[in-house]
């Protein structure tokens, strides 16, 4: 049996606003789960229902086989890192970390021992006597982490904990969080709208949109085999390019035909696409799924060049709209005529259901 189970979870505000429509998820012990989605998709609400900070409209939550939805937050065996860190300003760092332990009535020496341990893990040993206002944003973040791991929770919740940090700190803090998770093996749920955070941290990602789960999968699954157009569009930077194409069955071959190009699909796809003969579907290709050489099938001209150091991103016009292509040919110039080819890694979606065909 799984360690944590969210069953048909729902949240409705004011009887009308459905923040979370349906949420089913099972989490194994020690897993690092990331809830990913645009703001307002219900990911924070779901986390707050798990924490007990938000009442549950329908469904149930189990930790270790026990339903927790009728328990107070303090009795759920969870800990949490908040977006604003919520490090209490009137307490020293030591008191912040020790507060939960004091409430659990642990003996003083033991509290001190635990605080010292987590302070070493989080690298805040020398700040224990300071007040939060004397610390930088990153240090406050570490205090919040220390406070959360000190209580040895059954489940570790993080609500966009990195969004208030500057870009550089965010990346290093991300690595630190991953290291702490690997060392402690704590079961974690992490909420974010930043896909690179999600991809780099998660064992499994739960992509949410408008109160429902779009896809659950490992970072690789989410990136390479997105189940819906929403996921394909939301994940990846720059995002995937979409083309409206028509399926044409010509004898044995199945062709995809757009305004300015036409090609026969890969073998695995032929069977599935036969039933779409004559219909429009959506072709999705990530910027790195293109080749730039003299043999490609789409002739176009470079409009914008954005060097990124190791590679460049170019904007070109295909079928009347601008698309982004990533290439390692660093010497490309604006106005240059090129030919784009497509590698086999493209995906096709049903235009009506927006779900992946292959």
């Amino acid at each position: 049996m799984s360690y944590i189970k969210l069953e048909n979870l729902r949240k409705v505000y004011n009887k009308t606003i459905e923040a979370v429509k349906r949420f089913d998820l099972e989490i194994d012990k020690g897993e690092f789960i990331v809830f990913l989605g645009p703001s307002g998709c219900g990911k924070s609400t779901t986390m707050r229902m798990i924490a007990g900070l938000e009442t549950v409209t329908g469904g149930d939550i189990f930790i270790d086989g026990e339903s927790i939805i009728n328990l107070e937050p303090r009795d759920r065996g969870i800990s949490m890192i908040f977006q604003s860190y919520a490090v209490w300003p009137h307490m020293t760092v030591f008191d912040n970390v020790a507060y939960a332990l004091k409430l659990r009535k642990l003996p003083k020496e033991q509290i001190k021992k635990i605080v010292d341990e987590v302070a070493v893990i989080c690298d805040i040993k020398e700040h224990l006597e300071r007040y939060p206002s004397q610390l930088s944003g990153g240090q406050r973040q570490r205090v919040a982490v220390a406070r959360a791991i000190a209580v040895k929770p059954k489940l570790f919740l993080m609500d966009e904990p990195l969004s208030n940090l500057d870009a550089k700190l965010r990346v290093s803090m991300r690595t630190d969080l991953k290291r702490i998770h690997q060392d402690l093996g704590s079961t974690s749920i992490f909420v974010t709208h930043d896909q690179s955070e999600a991809l780099s941290l998660a064992d499994r990602i739960v992509v949410m949109n408008q109160g429902v789960i779009e896809q659950i999968g490992t970072p690789n699954e989410i990136y390479h085999t997105p189940e819906s157009m929403f996921v394909a569009q939301f994940i990846g930077s720059p995002p995937a390019n979409f083309f409206d194409v028509t399926v044409l069955v010509k004898g044995d071959k199945v062709m995809l035909s757009a305004k300015s190009f036409e090609f026969s699909v890969k073998k695995e796809l032929e069977k599935k696409l036969k039933e779409y003969d004559g219909k429009q579907i959506v072709l999705a290709a990530r910027p790195e799924n293109f080749t730039v050489d003299k043999t490609g099938l789409i002739e176009t001209e470079i409009i914008i060049v954005e060097p990124q150091g190791s590679h460049i991103v170019i904007n070109v016009e295909v079928d009347g709209k601008e698309i982004k292509v990533v290439t390692d040919k660093l010497d490309l110039q604006v106005g240059q005529k090129i030919k784009l080819g497509l590698t086999d890694k493209y995906i096709v979606f049903d235009k009506d259901t927006t779900n992946r065909i292959y």
Partner: protein, 301 residues
């Protein structure tokens, strides 16, 4: 670029904007304070003397007035703080009609004290509206039955401690909204995640209030309480309107009483002496509170 220094005429100097205030306070604030001190330390015939100081301390009503004033100020501040905090915590959420409720709550604090006096002066007579409510709601009957009262309560006959408690209740009715609104503003500016974090990390709701919310909004609370205690030590009008002069002595009541009902120089000086005592009391309390506030804010900003 270097600034070109031109000599402005003196009347264009920015200090000209400060001058009116300076002159005003020199004449109308420092002047009376200084002359009050001088008045107290000169005898009736003009020489330096401690006569008035002795007169003040020998006044039979001095200690009762001081005691009553402090009792009133402290009891009302404690009661009002606890009630206002509870109420503010309770309505610190958006319920339907919350703004209308706040609107109702704010009415008493807008009422001038003279009108408050009239409300309660007429309300606390034997057949006033207060006893009417007790009678109509059956509370009077209940109190009579369990033997606490025997017939209508004669509120205005209250003396000593009871009279002061009655005044505390009237004062609480008047000012509770203002205390509550200040605390409510503090709560609304408080990051909700602070108390959520406490709840998650094992605190009960009561512990969250005690350990997290109150300490964090302490500067706001101190401000509200300072405001209250300063007007608390200046209580007099309600007491006089409900109980008349010289029944429940307060410090400021003494100032007015000796000033208005006695016409000799000695009593004028006594009234000035009470004034100085009140000024010093207010300034002392303010200093204590403001330094407490500094302490509360230290290490935070």
């Amino acid at each position: 670029m270097d600034k070109i220094k031109t000599r402005k005429p003196f009347w264009k100097s920015p200090y000209m904007l400060v001058l009116p205030a300076l002159i005003f306070y020199l004449i109308f604030w420092a002047g009376p304070v200084f002359s009050a001190v001088k008045e107290v330390f000169t005898s009736v015939d003009g020489g330096f003397s401690f006569e008035t100081i002795f007169f003040l301390f020998e006044d039979d009503k001095f200690l009762p007035a001081l005691g009553n004033t402090l009792l009133f100020a402290i009891v009302s501040i404690v009661l009002q703080f606890l009630l206002a905090l509870a109420l503010a915590l309770f309505i610190n959420r958006n319920f339907k009609g919350s703004s209308f409720f706040l609107f109702l709550m704010m009415i008493p604090m807008a009422i001038p004290i003279a009108a408050v006096g009239i409300i309660w002066d007429t309300g606390l007579t034997e057949s006033g509206w207060f006893n009417s409510i007790l009678s109509v709601t059956g509370i009077q009957w209940f109190l009579d039955t369990i033997g606490i009262t025997d017939g209508a309560i004669l509120w205005k006959g209250a003396t000593g401690f009871k009279a002061i408690m009655l005044l505390v209740l009237i004062d609480t009715w008047t000012v509770l909204p203002s205390v509550m609104i200040i605390i409510l503003a503090g709560l609304q500016n408080l990051n909700k995640e602070y108390s959520e974090a406490a709840l998650v990390f094992g605190a009960t709701r009561f512990q969250t209030v005690k350990h997290i919310i109150v300490p964090i909004i302490k500067p706001t609370i101190i401000t509200a309480l300072l405001l209250r205690i300063i007007s608390g030590v200046q209580v007099w009008l309600i007491a006089v309107m409900v109980f008349d002069f010289d029944t429940v002595p307060f410090l400021v009541e003494r100032i007015v009483y000796y000033n208005k009902f006695f016409y000799t120089d000695e009593y004028f000086k006594l009234s000035v002496a009470y004034s100085i005592f009140v000024m010093m009391l207010v300034m002392t309390i303010a200093t204590i509170f403001l330094s407490a506030n500094k302490k509360a804010e230290r290490g935070r900003t």
